[in-house]
């Protein structure tokens, strides 16, 4: 009996010790993450101008949000940028990672060059691309590099006001976003490629497998976990992109370039609808959590397969 009591007190002490060790992290997490999150949910149920009393309005902000066409358009715009990033950006990153994984000259130089765009400030990148896509003229010459280039090679009919044309503005932003983001994917995919055991490739070679067959049956299956991480990070990063949008098209071209975060910012800074902005934030968080959960389920199935 005494022995059992002694055992349980040792176990209790062990458990308390464990909890005590994680307590500082829990406190910091609660103050900086859980409290703001709960407060945002609370604010989303109120009408508030940022100062003065909060008026409880229940789910009214969410009800209004459901019929807010501009909000849903901004979600679609972010999805459009994400689709570009998932395809163009990640395919490019994978191709370049495959190239740099081989024995080629200046391999280290390419690695550095490809990683430059992601480490640049989004504001700087946005402004540089604004200059490249500038449609203005001075003394009859295009100021923007792209139009200047098109004009000088005889493709004047292709010159355009890229960022003020609803048909091209969002695509331009998406492409610049991909240009900025492919470096991250490149580094992660390259790291993944380098962990693949080279013996697998040698075995495939001995078996007489073609390059395509080796890629499809060796590289891709071994890269699935890394690809999934890259896909999840791409989705979360692209859906929340907004600095690039602000620096390239200011407060937006009508609603063609609105993304969820610029709508949330507009509601907080422009119209001072803090409650509505928080409702947007909660709604957006739910969407992102749902998408992440779906991808997680998909990845589990893929791993099982």
């Amino acid at each position: 009996m005494a022995k059992r009591q002694k055992m349980s007190s040792i176990k209790l002490a062990d458990i308390s010790e464990n909890y005590l060790f994680i307590l500082p992290a829990v406190i910091i997490f609660a103050i900086f993450y859980i409290y703001p999150f709960i407060d945002i949910i609370n604010l989303s149920l109120h009408e508030w101008k940022g100062i003065g009393p909060k008026v409880f309005v229940g789910l009214r902000n969410f009800k209004e949000l459901m019929s807010d066409k501009i909000w849903w358009k901004s979600i679609w715009n972010a999805t459009y940028i994400t689709l570009w990033a998932l395809t163009f950006q990640n395919v490019l990153a994978f191709m370049l990672a495959l190239a740099c994984d081989r024995e080629i000259r200046f391999k280290k130089f390419y690695r550095v060059v490809f990683f430059i765009p992601p480490v640049l400030s989004q504001v700087v990148v946005g402004l540089i691309w604004r200059w490249i896509l500038n449609a203005g003229k001075q003394d009859g010459q295009y100021i923007g590099l792209l139009n200047h280039l098109l004009d000088s090679i005889g493709l004047h009919h292709l010159t355009n006001d890229w960022l003020s044309d609803p048909a091209t503005a969002l695509t331009c932003i998406a492409i610049v976003h991909c240009w900025m983001g492919f470096g991250w994917g490149f580094i992660m995919l390259l790291a993944g490629l380098q962990t693949i055991d080279k013996q697998l490739y040698e075995a495939a070679k001995v078996d007489g497998a073609s390059s395509w067959s080796t890629f499809w049956n060796v590289t891709i299956p071994m890269m699935v976990p890394v690809i999934l991480v890259v896909v999840i990070l791409t989705v979360l990063g692209s859906m929340q992109a907004f600095i690039l949008v602000l620096s390239m098209v200011g407060q937006g071209l009508v609603h063609h370039t609105d993304v969820p975060v610029t709508r949330i910012l507009g509601a907080m800074q422009g119209t001072k609808e803090f409650g509505y902005a928080c409702a947007m934030g909660v709604n957006f968080a739910i969407i992102l959590i749902a998408v992440s959960a779906l991808m997680k389920m998909g990845s589990n199935k893929l791993k099982q397969a």
Partner: protein
């Protein structure tokens, strides 16, 4: 085991203690007046003046800059919630929010100070500059009538023209009417010069331009009636306002990319001679001087559409400070602002920062181009002094509609109908809330 638990507890207490200690108010120098501002271009001049004031009076002034204005505004709102506002600060929001600050006891009423010595302080200022800080007896915000802020400078938004480019295109006279403006644009375009550039990527500037023409076409009363819901946006006069944008767009008057252009880029375009006209505020004098000191330009009112009504432009107090009602150093803070808005200090600020002074007596110190802006201060108006303001979502629909017209996506009629639809929906929402 005990040692480990004691160590962990110590760490927890240290972390929590540091956090709460960090969150608490910093020790305050009781003799120091703390000012928060957002004016990057004026920071150095403020520092110099603060130093002078400290030497003259022994009162220390600490000036802290938080830019850009959006960040500053967020900081002020957060500090108001936490009751940690400095002794002197600015409110960059619309009048409704300014009124809230007053109602919650965060802004001091300066009326008695302005009235002292037979109203000497009040009379020294441009009346338009004070209007932004004044709440009249019939204000709709339920604020006690009075003056609650101190203007540091005045500003207005006009059109600028590049004299050399107009001459190059053979435009002999500065256009005064809309038709003359269109004719000038035609000549400019024929020699490859862009017409009007402005930073409408910051959409309030397009809103201001439309507002100028609304005042010129229909006058203030009808605009206020529209905001109250008595006149629809589909009214022929509003259609005329929307058509101004269509006409200018079809005539090739706008520089390429005007709808998404940040104002800084538009300023660069005008300063470097890429466009003959600009629509910009009086702060541009300082900006253009830095970008191209040799720029040969002048200011003009936007060309009239309706010759029978005046062209009203946005203007008034450019930047204003208020005093924290809860500050223990309220009296010293007011004394400093009185000193800062006096003739000598205002002349110094005008010289150093090329902004229009709020003190009329300091006008002699301003550069020639700025005097073009000063001359039309009587023609200014601003949403913050209007009796009614449009609902935010209607303003958004209106401004985005202007963009749609400029890029040729929608017609003025379509935009007018869409704005009216939003107006009706928002008014319905307001009625339901009441």
């Amino acid at each position: 085991m005990k040692k480990i638990i004691a160590l962990v507890l110590l760490v927890v207490m240290a972390v929590v203690g540091c956090f709460f200690w960090g969150c608490g108010k910093k020790p305050v120098n009781t003799n120091e007046i703390l000012i928060w501002h957002w004016m990057t271009d004026r920071h150095q001049a403020f520092e110099t003046l603060a130093q002078q004031y400290s030497e003259q009076t022994g009162v220390a002034i600490k000036i802290q800059l938080f830019a850009p204005p959006d960040t500053y505004s967020q900081r002020i709102t957060a500090s108001a919630q936490a009751n940690t506002l400095p002794d002197i600060f600015g409110i960059l929001d619309k009048k409704e929010i300014f009124a809230d600050f007053i109602k919650y006891g965060l802004v001091a009423d300066l009326t008695d100070e302005y009235k002292k010595d037979d109203g000497a302080w009040e009379q020294a200022m441009f009346p338009k500059a004070l209007e932004v800080n004044r709440f009249t007896a019939d204000n709709i915000y339920d604020v006690k009538p009075g003056i609650y802020g101190v203007p540091i400078d005045v500003t207005n938004i006009q059109m600028l023209y590049n004299k050399d480019l107009l001459e190059k295109a053979g435009v002999k006279e500065v256009p005064r009417t809309f038709d003359q403006f269109l004719a000038a644009v035609k000549k400019l375009n024929s020699v490859g010069i862009s017409g009007l550039v402005s930073g409408w990527g910051e959409i309030w500037l397009a809103d201001a331009f439309a507002s100028n023409y609304a005042f010129n076409i229909m006058g203030e009363q009808k605009i206020m009636d529209t905001y109250q819901g008595k006149v629809p946006y589909t009214d022929p006069d509003w259609l005329k306002v929307f058509r101004v944008f269509k006409t200018l767009s079809e005539a090739g008057a706008f520089a390429e990319g005007v709808v998404t252009k940040p104002n800084k880029e538009a300023e660069q375009d005008f300063a470097l001679g890429r466009a003959a006209f600009a629509y910009n505020g009086s702060w541009c004098v300082n900006v253009y001087h830095d970008m191209n000191p040799d720029l040969n330009y002048s200011a003009m009112l936007p060309p009239k559409m309706n010759p029978d009504r005046p062209m009203k432009i946005w203007g008034g107090a450019g930047s204003s400070f208020v005093v924290n009602e809860q500050s223990a150093k309220k009296e010293q803070a007011i004394a400093f602002l009185k000193w800062l808005s006096a003739e000598k200090q205002q002349a110094y600020l005008a010289r150093e920062t090329r902004n229009l002074p709020a003190n009329r007596k300091a006008l002699a110190a301003i550069p020639e181009v700025l005097s073009d802006f000063a001359k039309v201060m009587d023609n200014t108006t601003h949403p913050t002094i209007w009796k009614y303001n449009e609902l935010p979502k209607v303003t958004e629909a209106f401004d985005k509609g202007l963009q749609s017209i400029v890029i040729g996506e929608k017609t003025p009629k379509q935009v007018a109908e869409e704005v009216q639809k939003v107006k009706e929906r928002e008014m319905e929402k307001q009625r339901n809330r009441q």
